[in-house]
Symmetry: C2
Subunit: 289 residues, 2 copies
DNA sequence: GGTTGTGAACATATTCACAGCA
DNA sequence: TGCTGTGAATATGTTCACAACC
Protein backbone atom coordinates (compact mmCIF):
# COMPACT_ATOMS: atom_id res chain seq x y z
CA UNK A 1 0.00 0.00 0.00
CA UNK A 2 0.91 3.61 -0.09
CA UNK A 3 3.05 3.36 3.00
CA UNK A 4 4.77 0.20 2.00
CA UNK A 5 3.20 -1.63 4.90
CA UNK A 6 2.75 -5.30 4.56
CA UNK A 7 -0.59 -6.27 3.24
CA UNK A 8 -3.21 -6.74 5.85
CA UNK A 9 -1.17 -5.60 8.85
CA UNK A 10 -2.61 -8.03 11.32
CA UNK A 11 -5.90 -9.78 11.78
CA UNK A 12 -8.66 -8.17 9.77
CA UNK A 13 -7.92 -4.50 9.04
CA UNK A 14 -8.79 -4.38 5.38
CA UNK A 15 -12.28 -3.44 4.37
CA UNK A 16 -14.49 -1.48 6.65
CA UNK A 17 -17.99 -2.90 6.18
CA UNK A 18 -20.03 -0.94 3.70
CA UNK A 19 -22.80 -0.41 6.21
CA UNK A 20 -20.29 1.16 8.54
CA UNK A 21 -18.90 3.44 5.84
CA UNK A 22 -22.41 4.65 5.17
CA UNK A 23 -22.80 5.68 8.78
CA UNK A 24 -19.48 7.44 9.22
CA UNK A 25 -20.75 10.67 7.66
CA UNK A 26 -23.57 10.63 10.16
CA UNK A 27 -21.21 10.34 13.08
CA UNK A 28 -19.01 12.99 11.57
CA UNK A 29 -21.88 15.41 11.35
CA UNK A 30 -22.87 14.82 14.96
CA UNK A 31 -19.27 15.16 16.09
CA UNK A 32 -18.80 18.38 14.17
CA UNK A 33 -21.78 19.85 15.95
CA UNK A 34 -20.32 18.82 19.31
CA UNK A 35 -16.98 20.22 18.30
CA UNK A 36 -18.56 23.58 17.61
CA UNK A 37 -20.07 23.58 21.03
CA UNK A 38 -16.58 22.84 22.32
CA UNK A 39 -17.65 19.59 23.90
CA UNK A 40 -14.41 17.72 24.61
CA UNK A 41 -15.62 14.12 24.91
CA UNK A 42 -18.71 12.02 24.24
CA UNK A 43 -19.83 8.59 25.28
CA UNK A 44 -21.01 6.10 22.71
CA UNK A 45 -24.44 6.47 24.19
CA UNK A 46 -24.63 10.22 23.69
CA UNK A 47 -23.10 10.20 20.25
CA UNK A 48 -25.31 7.36 19.15
CA UNK A 49 -28.38 9.31 20.21
CA UNK A 50 -27.21 12.34 18.26
CA UNK A 51 -26.62 10.26 15.17
CA UNK A 52 -29.84 8.31 15.48
CA UNK A 53 -28.35 4.84 15.89
CA UNK A 54 -27.88 2.57 18.86
CA UNK A 55 -24.71 2.62 20.88
CA UNK A 56 -23.66 -0.97 20.31
CA UNK A 57 -23.71 -0.40 16.60
CA UNK A 58 -21.71 2.77 16.95
CA UNK A 59 -19.06 1.10 19.08
CA UNK A 60 -18.81 -1.76 16.65
CA UNK A 61 -18.46 0.69 13.80
CA UNK A 62 -15.68 2.56 15.55
CA UNK A 63 -13.94 -0.66 16.39
CA UNK A 64 -13.31 -1.16 12.67
CA UNK A 65 -11.40 2.10 12.61
CA UNK A 66 -9.30 1.31 15.66
CA UNK A 67 -9.41 1.81 19.38
CA UNK A 68 -10.03 5.48 19.54
CA UNK A 69 -11.98 5.66 22.77
CA UNK A 70 -11.06 5.57 26.42
CA UNK A 71 -12.82 3.09 28.66
CA UNK A 72 -14.70 4.70 31.44
CA UNK A 73 -14.54 8.04 29.67
CA UNK A 74 -15.68 8.06 26.07
CA UNK A 75 -14.32 9.45 22.83
CA UNK A 76 -12.28 12.60 22.28
CA UNK A 77 -14.41 14.67 19.93
CA UNK A 78 -11.67 16.50 18.02
CA UNK A 79 -9.63 13.42 17.62
CA UNK A 80 -12.52 11.37 16.33
CA UNK A 81 -13.50 14.10 13.89
CA UNK A 82 -10.04 13.94 12.47
CA UNK A 83 -9.87 10.16 12.31
CA UNK A 84 -13.22 9.82 10.59
CA UNK A 85 -12.43 12.64 8.18
CA UNK A 86 -9.21 10.94 7.28
CA UNK A 87 -10.87 7.57 6.87
CA UNK A 88 -13.46 9.08 4.57
CA UNK A 89 -10.82 10.87 2.56
CA UNK A 90 -12.07 14.30 3.53
CA UNK A 91 -8.69 15.65 4.49
CA UNK A 92 -8.11 16.17 0.82
CA UNK A 93 -9.90 18.30 -1.69
CA UNK A 94 -12.38 16.73 -4.08
CA UNK A 95 -13.31 18.82 -7.09
CA UNK A 96 -16.71 17.82 -8.47
CA UNK A 97 -18.67 18.83 -11.52
CA UNK A 98 -22.43 19.08 -11.69
CA UNK A 99 -23.96 18.24 -15.04
CA UNK A 100 -27.46 19.43 -15.76
CA UNK A 101 -28.24 22.82 -14.30
CA UNK A 102 -31.98 22.84 -14.02
CA UNK A 103 -33.88 23.38 -10.81
CA UNK A 104 -32.19 20.51 -9.11
CA UNK A 105 -28.72 21.22 -10.45
CA UNK A 106 -29.05 24.80 -9.26
CA UNK A 107 -30.20 23.60 -5.85
CA UNK A 108 -27.15 21.39 -5.61
CA UNK A 109 -24.84 24.16 -6.77
CA UNK A 110 -26.24 26.41 -4.08
CA UNK A 111 -25.93 23.81 -1.40
CA UNK A 112 -23.56 25.16 1.21
CA UNK A 113 -22.60 21.94 2.93
CA UNK A 114 -20.98 21.07 -0.34
CA UNK A 115 -17.96 23.26 0.08
CA UNK A 116 -17.59 22.77 3.80
CA UNK A 117 -16.47 19.19 3.78
CA UNK A 118 -13.69 18.70 1.29
CA UNK A 119 -15.88 19.04 -1.78
CA UNK A 120 -15.52 21.89 -4.18
CA UNK A 121 -17.74 22.59 -7.14
CA UNK A 122 -15.25 22.90 -9.96
CA UNK A 123 -17.77 23.51 -12.70
CA UNK A 124 -21.42 23.59 -13.67
CA UNK A 125 -22.20 22.06 -17.02
CA UNK A 126 -25.35 22.16 -19.10
CA UNK A 127 -26.32 21.16 -22.62
CA UNK A 128 -28.49 24.19 -23.22
CA UNK A 129 -26.51 26.83 -25.14
CA UNK A 130 -28.79 29.48 -23.66
CA UNK A 131 -27.50 28.60 -20.21
CA UNK A 132 -23.85 29.00 -21.13
CA UNK A 133 -22.24 31.87 -19.31
CA UNK A 134 -25.20 32.48 -17.06
CA UNK A 135 -24.13 32.60 -13.44
CA UNK A 136 -25.57 30.06 -11.03
CA UNK A 137 -24.41 30.12 -7.43
CA UNK A 138 -21.85 32.69 -8.46
CA UNK A 139 -20.31 30.52 -11.12
CA UNK A 140 -20.80 30.63 -14.89
CA UNK A 141 -22.49 27.64 -16.45
CA UNK A 142 -20.34 25.98 -19.09
CA UNK A 143 -21.43 24.10 -22.15
CA UNK A 144 -21.34 20.34 -22.49
CA UNK A 145 -18.97 20.64 -25.41
CA UNK A 146 -16.20 21.46 -23.00
CA UNK A 147 -16.98 18.64 -20.58
CA UNK A 148 -13.85 16.61 -21.29
CA UNK A 149 -11.54 19.58 -21.05
CA UNK A 150 -13.11 20.71 -17.78
CA UNK A 151 -12.73 17.28 -16.22
CA UNK A 152 -9.12 16.98 -17.24
CA UNK A 153 -8.06 20.51 -16.40
CA UNK A 154 -9.51 20.25 -12.93
CA UNK A 155 -8.57 16.69 -12.17
CA UNK A 156 -12.18 15.87 -11.39
CA UNK A 157 -12.90 12.32 -10.29
CA UNK A 158 -16.41 12.77 -8.92
CA UNK A 159 -19.32 13.79 -11.12
CA UNK A 160 -22.90 14.63 -10.20
CA UNK A 161 -25.56 13.97 -12.81
CA UNK A 162 -28.71 16.06 -12.51
CA UNK A 163 -29.87 15.84 -16.11
CA UNK A 164 -33.12 14.41 -17.41
CA UNK A 165 -33.22 10.62 -17.43
CA UNK A 166 -32.72 10.42 -21.15
CA UNK A 167 -29.35 12.13 -21.09
CA UNK A 168 -27.89 10.44 -18.04
CA UNK A 169 -26.33 7.36 -19.60
CA UNK A 170 -24.57 9.34 -22.28
CA UNK A 171 -23.35 11.94 -19.83
CA UNK A 172 -22.00 9.22 -17.59
CA UNK A 173 -20.10 7.72 -20.49
CA UNK A 174 -18.47 11.01 -21.33
CA UNK A 175 -17.61 11.68 -17.71
CA UNK A 176 -16.03 8.26 -17.35
CA UNK A 177 -14.13 8.50 -20.61
CA UNK A 178 -12.71 11.80 -19.38
CA UNK A 179 -11.52 10.30 -16.13
CA UNK A 180 -14.36 10.39 -13.63
CA UNK A 181 -14.54 7.27 -11.48
CA UNK A 182 -17.35 8.10 -9.08
CA UNK A 183 -20.82 9.27 -10.00
CA UNK A 184 -23.71 10.51 -7.96
CA UNK A 185 -26.77 10.03 -10.12
CA UNK A 186 -29.97 11.99 -9.56
CA UNK A 187 -31.55 10.95 -12.82
CA UNK A 188 -34.11 8.16 -12.51
CA UNK A 189 -32.23 5.67 -14.63
CA UNK A 190 -30.00 2.71 -14.07
CA UNK A 191 -26.57 3.68 -15.33
CA UNK A 192 -24.42 0.96 -16.71
CA UNK A 193 -20.79 1.65 -16.08
CA UNK A 194 -17.55 -0.28 -16.40
CA UNK A 195 -16.01 -2.13 -13.49
CA UNK A 196 -14.13 0.12 -11.14
CA UNK A 197 -16.54 3.02 -11.45
CA UNK A 198 -18.68 3.72 -8.42
CA UNK A 199 -22.24 4.86 -8.83
CA UNK A 200 -24.61 5.95 -6.13
CA UNK A 201 -28.12 6.98 -6.93
CA UNK A 202 -30.56 9.32 -5.33
CA UNK A 203 -34.08 8.76 -6.47
CA UNK A 204 -37.03 10.67 -5.13
CA UNK A 205 -39.70 8.52 -6.63
CA UNK A 206 -38.18 5.33 -5.28
CA UNK A 207 -38.13 6.76 -1.78
CA UNK A 208 -41.73 7.84 -2.04
CA UNK A 209 -42.76 4.43 -3.25
CA UNK A 210 -41.06 2.79 -0.31
CA UNK A 211 -42.89 5.13 2.03
CA UNK A 212 -46.16 4.38 0.29
CA UNK A 213 -45.59 0.68 0.84
CA UNK A 214 -45.28 1.17 4.57
CA UNK A 215 -48.16 3.63 4.66
CA UNK A 216 -50.36 1.07 3.04
CA UNK A 217 -49.37 -1.51 5.60
CA UNK A 218 -50.13 0.83 8.44
CA UNK A 219 -53.58 1.52 7.06
CA UNK A 220 -54.30 -2.14 6.44
CA UNK A 221 -53.08 -3.41 9.78
CA UNK A 222 -54.72 -0.58 11.64
CA UNK A 223 -58.09 -1.45 10.20
CA UNK A 224 -58.02 -5.10 11.11
CA UNK A 225 -55.23 -6.24 13.38
CA UNK A 226 -53.61 -3.44 15.31
CA UNK A 227 -50.21 -1.84 15.51
CA UNK A 228 -47.73 -3.95 13.65
CA UNK A 229 -46.63 -0.52 12.65
CA UNK A 230 -43.18 -0.22 14.09
CA UNK A 231 -42.04 -2.06 11.04
CA UNK A 232 -39.42 -0.02 9.30
CA UNK A 233 -39.81 2.88 11.65
CA UNK A 234 -38.10 2.55 14.95
CA UNK A 235 -34.52 3.20 14.08
CA UNK A 236 -34.58 6.13 11.83
CA UNK A 237 -31.05 6.17 10.62
CA UNK A 238 -31.35 2.47 10.04
CA UNK A 239 -29.27 0.38 7.74
CA UNK A 240 -31.23 -1.18 4.95
CA UNK A 241 -32.68 0.91 2.18
CA UNK A 242 -31.26 2.02 -1.06
CA UNK A 243 -31.79 5.64 -2.05
CA UNK A 244 -34.52 7.51 -3.80
CA UNK A 245 -33.84 9.65 -6.81
CA UNK A 246 -35.26 12.72 -8.29
CA UNK A 247 -34.60 14.21 -11.64
CA UNK A 248 -34.30 17.48 -13.33
CA UNK A 249 -36.76 16.01 -15.75
CA UNK A 250 -39.36 18.71 -15.47
CA UNK A 251 -36.82 21.31 -16.43
CA UNK A 252 -35.47 19.22 -19.27
CA UNK A 253 -37.83 16.95 -21.09
CA UNK A 254 -41.54 17.33 -20.84
CA UNK A 255 -42.27 15.29 -17.78
CA UNK A 256 -39.38 12.92 -17.50
CA UNK A 257 -39.08 9.27 -18.29
CA UNK A 258 -42.20 7.22 -18.55
CA UNK A 259 -45.33 8.64 -17.03
CA UNK A 260 -48.46 7.74 -18.98
CA UNK A 261 -49.53 4.21 -19.91
CA UNK A 262 -50.32 1.24 -17.73
CA UNK A 263 -51.67 1.06 -14.21
CA UNK A 264 -55.08 -0.14 -15.26
CA UNK A 265 -55.91 -3.45 -13.67
CA UNK A 266 -55.16 -6.37 -15.96
CA UNK A 267 -58.68 -6.85 -17.20
CA UNK A 268 -58.33 -9.49 -19.89
CA UNK A 269 -55.26 -11.66 -19.69
CA UNK A 270 -54.34 -10.26 -16.36
CA UNK A 271 -57.34 -11.75 -14.72
CA UNK A 272 -56.57 -15.05 -16.35
CA UNK A 273 -53.04 -15.06 -15.11
CA UNK A 274 -54.23 -13.89 -11.74
CA UNK A 275 -55.93 -17.16 -11.14
CA UNK A 276 -52.81 -19.21 -10.99
CA UNK A 277 -51.17 -16.62 -8.79
CA UNK A 278 -52.84 -16.22 -5.45
CA UNK A 279 -49.70 -17.15 -3.54
CA UNK A 280 -51.40 -16.66 -0.28
CA UNK A 281 -54.75 -16.01 -1.87
CA UNK A 282 -54.02 -12.44 -1.05
CA UNK A 283 -56.04 -10.64 -3.71
CA UNK A 284 -57.47 -7.90 -1.49
CA UNK A 285 -59.95 -5.18 -2.27
CA UNK A 286 -57.49 -2.50 -3.28
CA UNK A 287 -59.09 -2.05 -6.66
CA UNK A 288 -57.48 0.86 -8.46
CA UNK A 289 -59.58 3.97 -8.33
CA UNK B 1 -56.29 -7.35 6.88
CA UNK B 2 -58.53 -5.37 4.65
CA UNK B 3 -60.12 -8.46 3.18
CA UNK B 4 -60.75 -10.17 6.44
CA UNK B 5 -58.46 -13.01 5.47
CA UNK B 6 -57.03 -15.04 8.24
CA UNK B 7 -53.75 -13.78 9.46
CA UNK B 8 -50.70 -15.21 7.80
CA UNK B 9 -52.51 -17.23 5.13
CA UNK B 10 -50.02 -20.06 4.96
CA UNK B 11 -46.32 -20.46 5.45
CA UNK B 12 -44.53 -17.13 5.43
CA UNK B 13 -46.49 -14.54 3.45
CA UNK B 14 -46.33 -11.62 5.86
CA UNK B 15 -43.43 -9.24 5.63
CA UNK B 16 -41.65 -8.76 2.38
CA UNK B 17 -37.97 -8.18 3.22
CA UNK B 18 -37.06 -4.52 3.36
CA UNK B 19 -34.32 -5.01 0.80
CA UNK B 20 -36.87 -6.43 -1.59
CA UNK B 21 -39.29 -3.58 -1.03
CA UNK B 22 -36.50 -1.15 -1.87
CA UNK B 23 -36.01 -2.85 -5.23
CA UNK B 24 -39.63 -3.13 -6.26
CA UNK B 25 -39.74 0.47 -7.55
CA UNK B 26 -36.74 -0.34 -9.71
CA UNK B 27 -38.45 -3.33 -11.24
CA UNK B 28 -41.59 -1.33 -11.68
CA UNK B 29 -39.75 1.34 -13.59
CA UNK B 30 -38.13 -1.18 -15.90
CA UNK B 31 -41.44 -2.94 -16.41
CA UNK B 32 -43.23 0.29 -17.20
CA UNK B 33 -40.69 1.01 -19.90
CA UNK B 34 -41.25 -2.45 -21.38
CA UNK B 35 -44.97 -1.97 -21.15
CA UNK B 36 -44.71 1.20 -23.18
CA UNK B 37 -42.84 -0.64 -25.85
CA UNK B 38 -45.67 -3.17 -25.77
CA UNK B 39 -43.38 -6.01 -24.82
CA UNK B 40 -45.68 -8.77 -23.58
CA UNK B 41 -43.32 -10.88 -21.50
CA UNK B 42 -39.83 -10.78 -19.99
CA UNK B 43 -37.50 -13.33 -18.53
CA UNK B 44 -35.93 -12.75 -15.16
CA UNK B 45 -32.63 -12.40 -16.96
CA UNK B 46 -33.78 -9.57 -19.20
CA UNK B 47 -35.66 -7.71 -16.53
CA UNK B 48 -32.80 -8.05 -14.10
CA UNK B 49 -30.45 -6.52 -16.64
CA UNK B 50 -32.80 -3.61 -17.17
CA UNK B 51 -33.08 -3.03 -13.45
CA UNK B 52 -29.39 -3.44 -12.80
CA UNK B 53 -29.56 -6.44 -10.49
CA UNK B 54 -28.85 -10.11 -10.98
CA UNK B 55 -31.53 -12.52 -12.01
CA UNK B 56 -31.39 -14.79 -8.97
CA UNK B 57 -32.05 -11.85 -6.72
CA UNK B 58 -34.92 -10.72 -8.87
CA UNK B 59 -36.52 -14.13 -8.86
CA UNK B 60 -36.14 -14.38 -5.13
CA UNK B 61 -37.69 -10.95 -4.74
CA UNK B 62 -40.66 -11.89 -6.87
CA UNK B 63 -41.08 -15.12 -5.01
CA UNK B 64 -42.01 -13.09 -1.94
CA UNK B 65 -44.89 -11.58 -3.87
CA UNK B 66 -46.17 -14.85 -5.18
CA UNK B 67 -45.73 -17.09 -8.20
CA UNK B 68 -46.35 -14.62 -10.93
CA UNK B 69 -44.14 -16.09 -13.62
CA UNK B 70 -44.47 -18.96 -16.04
CA UNK B 71 -41.69 -21.52 -16.20
CA UNK B 72 -40.08 -21.73 -19.57
CA UNK B 73 -41.65 -18.42 -20.55
CA UNK B 74 -41.08 -15.57 -18.15
CA UNK B 75 -43.26 -12.89 -16.59
CA UNK B 76 -46.26 -11.17 -18.09
CA UNK B 77 -45.30 -7.50 -18.16
CA UNK B 78 -48.71 -5.92 -17.64
CA UNK B 79 -49.65 -8.32 -14.95
CA UNK B 80 -46.46 -7.78 -13.03
CA UNK B 81 -46.78 -4.01 -13.32
CA UNK B 82 -50.14 -4.30 -11.72
CA UNK B 83 -49.07 -6.67 -8.99
CA UNK B 84 -46.08 -4.61 -8.00
CA UNK B 85 -48.08 -1.40 -8.10
CA UNK B 86 -50.63 -2.94 -5.85
CA UNK B 87 -48.02 -4.28 -3.48
CA UNK B 88 -46.43 -0.86 -3.22
CA UNK B 89 -49.75 0.79 -2.66
CA UNK B 90 -49.60 2.75 -5.88
CA UNK B 91 -53.06 1.83 -7.02
CA UNK B 92 -54.30 4.49 -4.68
CA UNK B 93 -53.69 8.19 -4.64
CA UNK B 94 -51.19 9.66 -2.18
CA UNK B 95 -51.45 13.38 -1.61
CA UNK B 96 -48.15 14.83 -0.42
CA UNK B 97 -47.08 18.22 0.78
CA UNK B 98 -43.68 19.75 0.20
CA UNK B 99 -42.46 22.02 2.97
CA UNK B 100 -39.67 24.45 2.17
CA UNK B 101 -39.89 25.89 -1.31
CA UNK B 102 -36.33 26.97 -2.04
CA UNK B 103 -34.32 25.74 -4.96
CA UNK B 104 -34.72 22.15 -3.96
CA UNK B 105 -38.35 22.37 -3.01
CA UNK B 106 -39.08 23.97 -6.36
CA UNK B 107 -37.13 21.25 -8.13
CA UNK B 108 -39.20 18.62 -6.35
CA UNK B 109 -42.45 20.44 -7.11
CA UNK B 110 -41.52 20.50 -10.76
CA UNK B 111 -40.56 16.88 -10.84
CA UNK B 112 -42.85 15.18 -13.28
CA UNK B 113 -42.41 11.61 -12.16
CA UNK B 114 -44.11 12.74 -9.01
CA UNK B 115 -47.57 12.87 -10.41
CA UNK B 116 -47.23 9.89 -12.67
CA UNK B 117 -47.11 7.21 -10.03
CA UNK B 118 -49.86 7.68 -7.56
CA UNK B 119 -48.37 10.72 -5.90
CA UNK B 120 -50.01 14.09 -6.11
CA UNK B 121 -48.59 17.31 -4.78
CA UNK B 122 -51.41 18.61 -2.65
CA UNK B 123 -49.66 21.75 -1.45
CA UNK B 124 -46.42 23.68 -1.33
CA UNK B 125 -45.65 25.27 1.99
CA UNK B 126 -43.02 27.81 2.96
CA UNK B 127 -42.29 29.90 6.03
CA UNK B 128 -41.35 33.00 4.05
CA UNK B 129 -44.36 35.36 3.87
CA UNK B 130 -42.91 36.80 0.69
CA UNK B 131 -43.34 33.42 -0.98
CA UNK B 132 -47.01 33.10 -0.09
CA UNK B 133 -49.21 33.15 -3.15
CA UNK B 134 -46.34 32.99 -5.58
CA UNK B 135 -46.88 30.21 -8.09
CA UNK B 136 -44.33 27.39 -8.25
CA UNK B 137 -44.93 24.59 -10.69
CA UNK B 138 -48.33 26.09 -11.38
CA UNK B 139 -49.40 26.02 -7.78
CA UNK B 140 -49.51 28.84 -5.23
CA UNK B 141 -47.16 28.54 -2.30
CA UNK B 142 -48.98 28.57 1.02
CA UNK B 143 -47.76 29.85 4.34
CA UNK B 144 -46.64 27.63 7.20
CA UNK B 145 -49.35 29.03 9.41
CA UNK B 146 -51.86 26.97 7.50
CA UNK B 147 -49.87 23.75 7.63
CA UNK B 148 -52.19 21.89 9.95
CA UNK B 149 -55.30 22.86 8.06
CA UNK B 150 -53.77 21.87 4.75
CA UNK B 151 -52.75 18.44 6.05
CA UNK B 152 -56.15 17.75 7.48
CA UNK B 153 -58.22 19.08 4.61
CA UNK B 154 -56.29 17.03 2.10
CA UNK B 155 -55.84 13.90 4.15
CA UNK B 156 -52.11 14.03 3.64
CA UNK B 157 -50.10 11.24 5.19
CA UNK B 158 -46.79 11.77 3.42
CA UNK B 159 -44.74 14.92 3.87
CA UNK B 160 -41.56 16.02 2.13
CA UNK B 161 -39.21 18.28 4.08
CA UNK B 162 -36.93 20.47 2.00
CA UNK B 163 -36.28 23.19 4.54
CA UNK B 164 -32.94 24.26 6.01
CA UNK B 165 -31.60 21.87 8.60
CA UNK B 166 -32.51 24.12 11.48
CA UNK B 167 -36.21 24.05 10.70
CA UNK B 168 -36.57 20.38 9.91
CA UNK B 169 -37.23 18.94 13.35
CA UNK B 170 -39.90 21.48 14.16
CA UNK B 171 -41.56 21.05 10.80
CA UNK B 172 -41.60 17.30 11.25
CA UNK B 173 -43.29 17.69 14.62
CA UNK B 174 -46.01 19.85 13.18
CA UNK B 175 -46.53 17.50 10.27
CA UNK B 176 -46.80 14.53 12.58
CA UNK B 177 -49.11 16.27 15.00
CA UNK B 178 -51.37 17.09 12.07
CA UNK B 179 -51.52 13.48 10.94
CA UNK B 180 -48.56 12.78 8.69
CA UNK B 181 -47.04 9.35 9.28
CA UNK B 182 -44.37 9.18 6.60
CA UNK B 183 -41.66 11.73 5.97
CA UNK B 184 -39.10 12.11 3.25
CA UNK B 185 -36.39 14.30 4.70
CA UNK B 186 -33.98 16.25 2.50
CA UNK B 187 -32.60 18.35 5.34
CA UNK B 188 -29.25 17.18 6.66
CA UNK B 189 -30.47 16.41 10.17
CA UNK B 190 -31.49 13.36 12.09
CA UNK B 191 -35.19 13.69 12.80
CA UNK B 192 -36.46 12.17 15.96
CA UNK B 193 -39.99 10.97 15.56
CA UNK B 194 -42.41 8.86 17.55
CA UNK B 195 -42.80 5.17 16.95
CA UNK B 196 -44.99 4.38 14.02
CA UNK B 197 -43.75 7.25 11.89
CA UNK B 198 -41.56 6.34 8.95
CA UNK B 199 -38.70 8.56 7.97
CA UNK B 200 -36.48 8.21 4.95
CA UNK B 201 -33.66 10.59 4.32
CA UNK B 202 -31.95 11.81 1.23
CA UNK B 203 -28.62 13.40 1.95
CA UNK B 204 -26.32 14.70 -0.72
CA UNK B 205 -23.33 15.23 1.47
CA UNK B 206 -23.49 11.74 2.91
CA UNK B 207 -23.52 10.24 -0.57
CA UNK B 208 -20.57 12.31 -1.62
CA UNK B 209 -18.64 11.28 1.43
CA UNK B 210 -19.27 7.64 0.71
CA UNK B 211 -18.02 8.15 -2.81
CA UNK B 212 -14.96 9.96 -1.51
CA UNK B 213 -14.18 7.01 0.73
CA UNK B 214 -14.11 4.66 -2.23
CA UNK B 215 -12.23 7.13 -4.39
CA UNK B 216 -9.54 7.35 -1.78
CA UNK B 217 -9.27 3.59 -1.70
CA UNK B 218 -8.93 3.39 -5.44
CA UNK B 219 -6.14 5.93 -5.43
CA UNK B 220 -4.32 4.23 -2.60
CA UNK B 221 -4.58 0.73 -3.98
CA UNK B 222 -3.80 1.84 -7.48
CA UNK B 223 -0.56 3.47 -6.44
CA UNK B 224 0.91 0.43 -4.78
CA UNK B 225 -0.99 -2.80 -5.18
CA UNK B 226 -3.17 -2.86 -8.25
CA UNK B 227 -6.87 -3.16 -8.94
CA UNK B 228 -8.64 -4.11 -5.78
CA UNK B 229 -11.00 -1.59 -7.21
CA UNK B 230 -14.11 -3.57 -7.90
CA UNK B 231 -14.93 -3.03 -4.28
CA UNK B 232 -18.28 -1.39 -4.04
CA UNK B 233 -18.61 -1.03 -7.76
CA UNK B 234 -19.67 -4.09 -9.64
CA UNK B 235 -23.34 -4.27 -9.01
CA UNK B 236 -24.56 -0.80 -9.44
CA UNK B 237 -28.03 -1.10 -8.10
CA UNK B 238 -26.59 -2.97 -5.14
CA UNK B 239 -28.19 -3.44 -1.79
CA UNK B 240 -26.33 -1.80 1.04
CA UNK B 241 -26.09 1.95 1.37
CA UNK B 242 -28.25 4.37 3.14
CA UNK B 243 -29.06 7.56 1.33
CA UNK B 244 -27.37 10.90 0.95
CA UNK B 245 -29.11 14.13 1.76
CA UNK B 246 -29.05 17.58 0.45
CA UNK B 247 -30.68 20.62 1.87
CA UNK B 248 -32.27 23.79 0.83
CA UNK B 249 -29.81 25.35 3.23
CA UNK B 250 -28.26 27.76 0.78
CA UNK B 251 -31.63 29.27 0.09
CA UNK B 252 -32.54 29.42 3.72
CA UNK B 253 -29.79 29.94 6.24
CA UNK B 254 -26.40 31.23 5.26
CA UNK B 255 -24.56 28.10 4.37
CA UNK B 256 -26.39 25.35 6.12
CA UNK B 257 -25.64 23.44 9.26
CA UNK B 258 -22.07 23.25 10.46
CA UNK B 259 -19.36 24.20 8.03
CA UNK B 260 -16.42 25.95 9.66
CA UNK B 261 -14.40 24.64 12.62
CA UNK B 262 -12.30 21.52 12.96
CA UNK B 263 -10.52 19.49 10.33
CA UNK B 264 -7.06 20.48 11.42
CA UNK B 265 -4.96 17.50 12.36
CA UNK B 266 -4.92 16.90 16.09
CA UNK B 267 -1.63 18.56 16.85
CA UNK B 268 -1.45 18.57 20.62
CA UNK B 269 -3.60 16.08 22.42
CA UNK B 270 -4.59 14.42 19.24
CA UNK B 271 -1.09 13.20 18.61
CA UNK B 272 -0.91 11.95 22.15
CA UNK B 273 -4.10 10.01 21.81
CA UNK B 274 -2.99 8.80 18.43
CA UNK B 275 -0.21 6.80 19.97
CA UNK B 276 -2.43 4.39 21.74
CA UNK B 277 -4.55 4.01 18.65
CA UNK B 278 -2.77 2.45 15.72
CA UNK B 279 -5.20 -0.45 15.49
CA UNK B 280 -3.36 -2.07 12.66
CA UNK B 281 -0.56 0.44 12.67
CA UNK B 282 -2.24 1.81 9.62
CA UNK B 283 -1.25 5.47 9.89
CA UNK B 284 -0.65 6.09 6.18
CA UNK B 285 0.78 9.11 4.45
CA UNK B 286 -2.48 10.92 3.83
CA UNK B 287 -1.42 13.99 5.76
CA UNK B 288 -3.95 16.72 5.31
CA UNK B 289 -2.86 19.27 2.74
C1' DG C 1 -35.10 -26.75 -24.19
C1' DG C 2 -35.92 -22.85 -21.39
C1' DT C 3 -37.14 -20.52 -17.28
C1' DT C 4 -39.18 -20.13 -12.82
C1' DG C 5 -39.27 -20.88 -7.79
C1' DT C 6 -36.81 -22.13 -3.83
C1' DG C 7 -34.08 -24.82 -0.35
C1' DA C 8 -29.51 -24.67 1.26
C1' DA C 9 -24.97 -22.42 1.58
C1' DC C 10 -22.82 -18.39 2.23
C1' DA C 11 -22.07 -13.43 3.33
C1' DT C 12 -23.09 -9.34 5.66
C1' DA C 13 -25.09 -6.70 9.36
C1' DT C 14 -27.06 -6.11 13.96
C1' DT C 15 -27.55 -7.00 18.68
C1' DC C 16 -26.34 -9.02 23.02
C1' DA C 17 -23.70 -9.35 26.90
C1' DC C 18 -19.64 -9.09 29.32
C1' DA C 19 -14.51 -9.09 29.99
C1' DG C 20 -11.10 -5.62 30.26
C1' DC C 21 -9.45 -1.41 31.36
C1' DA C 22 -9.22 3.68 32.95
C1' DT D 1 -17.72 2.45 38.90
C1' DG D 2 -18.36 3.56 34.04
C1' DC D 3 -17.62 2.91 29.53
C1' DT D 4 -15.20 0.83 25.60
C1' DG D 5 -14.10 -3.05 22.61
C1' DT D 6 -15.41 -7.36 20.97
C1' DG D 7 -16.54 -12.41 20.73
C1' DA D 8 -20.68 -15.00 20.09
C1' DA D 9 -25.57 -15.25 18.82
C1' DT D 10 -28.92 -13.79 15.88
C1' DA D 11 -31.09 -11.66 11.93
C1' DT D 12 -31.10 -10.20 7.34
C1' DG D 13 -29.65 -10.42 2.69
C1' DT D 14 -27.37 -12.67 -1.44
C1' DT D 15 -25.97 -16.33 -4.32
C1' DC D 16 -25.86 -21.04 -5.84
C1' DA D 17 -27.70 -24.77 -8.01
C1' DC D 18 -31.29 -27.63 -9.27
C1' DA D 19 -35.96 -29.76 -9.17
C1' DA D 20 -40.35 -28.62 -11.04
C1' DC D 21 -42.79 -27.33 -14.73
C1' DC D 22 -44.30 -25.17 -19.30
Amino acid sequence: MATGRTHRPATRSRGIPEATVARLPLYLRALTALSERSVPTVSSEELAAAAGVNSAKLRKDFSYLGSYGTRGVGYDVEYLVYQISRELGLTQDWPVVIVGIGNLGAALANYGGFASRGFRVAALIDADPAMAGKPVAGMPVQHTDDLEKIIEDNGVSIGVIATPAGAAQQVSERLIAAGVTSILNFAPTVLSVPEGVDVRKVDLSIELQILAFHEQRKAGEGAAAASAVADSAGDVGGAGGVAAADDEAAAGVGTGAAPAAALVPPAGRGAAAARKGGPDGDVPAVMPA
